[in-house]
């Protein structure tokens, strides 16, 4: 150190300074849309607590300006006779699965968009109308949508619905995780109204931790699986249940992201402009052959 020249000292300190600033520099606040934010939000649905009051259905419709019956009409439990799916008029629905034993409760399951971490709809949309947002929600831009309905085919949960009966400007409709509400610091409408707090809104990471903690505390109450933790690469909405999820009509899905297969094929084929080049080459070849044939015919004449 004593032998160090002034020049060397300045050099090293400049390097060190650069290094430190490099290390401490904060990550860019707004994460790019294809990288998942570690603080993205989610909802843990504890179906063992749900009583099937369907207040969430009413709140959802009200929040999205969809026509709805008065709140009292939701007490009618006869709707549970049929299994329902979310559609363009109700973005979330609650279904009921009968109790297994006389002394246990029926299981009520709320169904809506799962807001996948690797959403197939985003991948499938050819005009880029769908996007996975920083806060975890998967939303879409109605202005960009051309109504191709590829998203409906791609979704592993068959959630996006299309306004078929609208002749003019039909739109794709699905749960948007109340993006307009959460943007201004409000809770999603269903989370806010749920009297039982079946729905817990929080950081997805924390929710996964909480879900496993609940299972470990009450192993006799919960089926040992958090649906959505790994399914199709993870979803923002997570489920706890008292029974095997396949008995509750949850689709059996692998842990690899849904867009994986389709994207691999598409990106493989379209990589380096190979298909267009090949197509033009083929067309060029046909033209060249035809041209040769024509000139041959002309010579013969």
């Amino acid at each position: 150190m004593a032998n160090q020249s002034r020049r060397d000292f300045l050099k090293t300190s400049a390097l060190l300074g650069a290094g430190i600033t490099g290390l401490t520099s904060k990550p860019v606040k707004a994460a790019p849309k294809n990288i998942l934010d570690e603080n993205r939000m989610g909802v843990l649905v504890d179906t063992t607590v749900c009583i099937g009051c369907r207040k969430c259905e009413w709140a959802c419709k009200t929040a999205h300006n969809l026509p709805t019956q008065p709140l009292e009409s939701y007490d009618d439990r006869s709707v549970f006779i049929n299994m329902r799916r979310p559609d363009d008029k109700s973005l979330t629905v609650v279904n009921e699965y009968p109790a297994q034993e006389s002394n246990s409760f029926p299981v009520n399951v709320k169904v809506q968009c799962m807001h996948c971490d690797k959403p197939a709809c985003v991948s499938a949309c050819i005009v880029g109308a769908f996007s996975k947002e920083e806060n975890g929600s998967v939303i879409w831009d109605g202005d960009k949508c051309i109504g191709c309905r590829y998203c409906m085919v791609a979704c592993p949960f068959q959630v996006p619905a299309f306004e078929f009966e609208k002749a003019l400007q039909p739109e794709i409709r699905k749960c948007d995780f109340c993006f307009e509400r959460t943007k201004i610091g409000k809770l999603p409408a269903c989370v806010e109204i749920c009297p039982m707090e079946v729905l817990t809104y929080g950081r997805r990471e924390d929710l996964v931790e909480l879900a496993h903690h609940k299972i470990s505390l009450y192993p006799e109450k919960y089926y040992n699986h958090v649906f959505g933790e790994y399914e199709v690469g993870g979803t923002s909405w997570l489920y706890l249940a008292s029974r095997d999820f396949s008995e509750l009509q949850f689709p059996k899905l692998g842990n690899s992201p849904a867009p994986g297969v389709s994207e691999a094929i598409q990106h493989g084929i379209f990589a380096y402009f190979i298909p267009p080049i090949a197509l033009y080459a083929l067309l060029g070849g046909v033209m060249w052959l035809n041209k040769n044939r024509k000139s041959g015919e002309e010579e013969q004449l």
């Binding site: 099937g52 007490d75 002394n103 806010e192 707090e197 817990t200 809104y201 929080g202």
Partner: protein, 370 residues
Amino acid sequence: MKIKILYWFLIPLSIFGQTKIDKNHSSQNIKCSTCHSCEIPTKENPCIKPCPRESMIRIDQKAEDAPRILTIDRIKETDIYAPVKFSHLAHAEMSDLAGGCRTCHHYNPPGNVIGCSECHATQRQRTDINKPDLKGAYHQQCMNCHRAWSGNTDCISCHEIKGKEKVIASVTSDGKKRIHPEIKTPDKIKFDTNIKHGKQVTFYHAEHNELFGLECSDCHSNESCVKCHAVEKVKSPKKLSSKEKHKKCSSCHNTESNCSSCHSNFEKGGFNHAVVTGFDLTKYHGKLNCSRCHTTKSQFKGLKNECKNCHGEWTWENFNHKITGLVLDDTHGEFECENCHKEATYTKPECSDCHEDKSYPKDLPGKKVK
């Protein structure tokens, strides 16, 4: 990472900030690790474990010490329903049969039993997601039982619509009469068992209550709500082990041996003190409460069939023989009791020690009176 640290810091703060904890709670008989995650908690860093915890502290109080009616009006978000009037006493009385205060008050720091809002936040939007908010906590607690016995999840069974309030049958705010209807107990219940010698057990329920002064909760301490409120929903009796079947009786009866005291091939009679213990009560003790002699509650064993258990030593001076219906003559009046009465129960006297030709009851040592 920073945020995570902040969470861990906020969670204990939020709990500590909300609950009033007895200052001397460290000297009470509770393991520190039940609530604290570190070995030496300080005021600055109490390191309180977030809820739900593996184990909770639970304290019981008498139902009468708790509020009679609670008006639940802390949740302001709801604008549809009027505040709920919760008949706390009626529920507390019922909970005596189902695990006491802890049936609902699952966490109580040392001191008095604390209310739900001490820990559960009134706002749904909050940082600590480990425990439900107040609205969720109430509903989860209420519906767990209500749903089980009534099968009804209608809001209006507890809530009144704002502006249309009327008195719900079970809630009377005047606080005068007992809220829960009187529970009628059966006189006797017959159990059929698969024991070869003694298939039938006749259980005299009313007699157990009246004769032995038992409260419902002395035997029924861990029942579920459906046991009374939805009899048809009670589990079909599982195959219980012999020990489980005898559990309720064995707190007073010896069920290991002496099966025939309860089991027999025919319907047994009710309790008879003379037959079972050899001490006849009908003559002098018929009007006494059991507790006059059996002073420890629910403990009927251990007393010998001796008068001195209660009466002390009798001598000719302190015992008025007249009450037996016989006034001793002067000759016999100043003998020690044991001279004639050889048994500890002072039954039949022996005359043969002094008189060769006399015997009781043919000859009497005095005059009979009424």
